[in-house]
């Protein structure tokens, strides 16, 4: 079990270490393409989401794409 911060709030992970991609799914983000991720203040390239593993005390921020608008 490990304790991490997600978007400023504490989250407890059942499994020892999961990848960023798995954390995204766990947090019910519908599609990894909707977010950009920062880990401990550093931007993570989305190509590395499945290979980057989290550990206790890590701080993750999901930054959502927001574009507004309409489709023509």
């Amino acid at each position: 079990m490990s304790k991490i911060q997600v978007n400023g709030k504490e989250q407890i992970l059942e499994t020892a270490s999961i990848s960023i991609l798995e954390l995204i799914k766990l947090n019910k983000v519908l599609n990894a393409d909707m977010v950009s991720v920062q880990l401990n203040g550093e931007f993570v390239d989305r190509k590395e989401y499945s290979s980057t593993l989290l550990k206790t005390n890590d701080e993750v921020d999901f930054l959502y794409f927001m574009g507004g608008g309409s489709i023509d």
Binding site: N7, G8, N31, D33, M34, S36, Q38, G41, E42, F43, D45, R46, D61, L63, Y64, F65, M66, G67, G68, G69, S70, I71
Partner: protein, 269 residues
């Protein structure tokens, strides 16, 4: 700059404001700001900047007013439906404040016209409604060394970051446009009208702070809020050394019109 009696009265609340004063108001009156998009965000930005007395406001939008716009695009009224948004905006700006010189561009921003349009302005505001153009604005402003404010809203949420030369840019944080349909638009998911005002007014405040030099800008900070909970969060972000446009080895050296229908189109220059 000599203020008239009317101007002293009009701008009195700025003039008596300790951090602004006559000097600050002069800077505002000499300011030139480009607003890209005369919609949800562009509307409150234009109104508040006009109220403040910005000397020149450029406004670019290729659309006409649609009935569905009126729920949140507060610079357009019922009688303006089917009118070019930039004309509708210009009319209201000048009714609010005749001091403001308004330059309209009834067009869309593209890779071909971006650098030419932004060059005459001190600050650029992103009030646009799609990711390809948001990245275009970022890339153009970074390349031209123009400060700008990025803004986006959806449903009950909004986010903004202010980008100055050398600080984290939109691409440092968001890398590239998402694939089409990955992220819903306001016409698909909806948006609470007042959210546009909440976010747009924050952008207008950043413009005024930039021009007057007051306070700390939202540089290297992404401000996000959720109006359902009224939680405001500031996430510290950094200039990304691997950023494709402002990193150590930029791979984007020319502006690109990302196609809406193609996935993750990256410049190969």
């Amino acid at each position: 700059m000599d203020f008239t009696e009317d101007q002293i009265q009009r701008y009195s609340r700025h003039i008596i404001l300790q951090d602004v004063g006559v000097e600050g108001q002069e800077k505002i009156n000499n300011g030139r700001v480009l607003i890209i998009g005369a919609g949800g965000l562009g509307a409150p930005v234009a109104l508040y900047l006009a109220a403040a007395g910005i000397g020149t406001i450029g406004i670019i939008d290729g659309d006409v007013v649609d009935l569905s716009n009126l729920q949140r695009q507060v610079i357009h009224f019922t009688a303006d439906v089917n009118k070019a948004k930039v004309l509708s905006a210009k009319e209201k700006i000048n009714q609010l404040n005749p001091d403001v010189k308004v330059i309209t561009y009834h067009d869309f921003l593209t890779a071909a016209n971006a650098l030419d349009i932004i060059k005459d302005y001190d600050f650029v505001v992103d009030g646009t409604d799609n990711f390809p153009v948001k990245f275009l604005i970022n890339d153009a402003c970074v390349q031209a060394g123009k400060p700008f404010s990025h803004g986006g809203i959806l449903r009950f949420e909004g986010q903004t970051i202010t980008v100055l030369p050398g600080t984290a840019c939109y691409r440092c944080v968001f890398q590239a446009p998402p694939p089409p349909n990955a992220v819903p638009t306001c016409s698909q998911a909806g948006v609470l009208g007042a959210i546009a005002g909440m976010l747009g007014t924050i952008q207008a405040a950043e413009v005024l702070k930039y021009l007057t030099g007051v306070g700390d800008l939202l540089t290297n900070r992404l401000l996000t809020f959720n109006a359902k909970t009224m939680e405001f969060r500031t996430i510290n972000v950094k200039h990304n050394h691997r950023c494709a446009v402002c990193g150590d080895h930029p791979t984007i050296t020319e502006l690109v019109d990302y196609e809406q229908t193609t996935c993750e189109l990256k410049s190969t220059h």
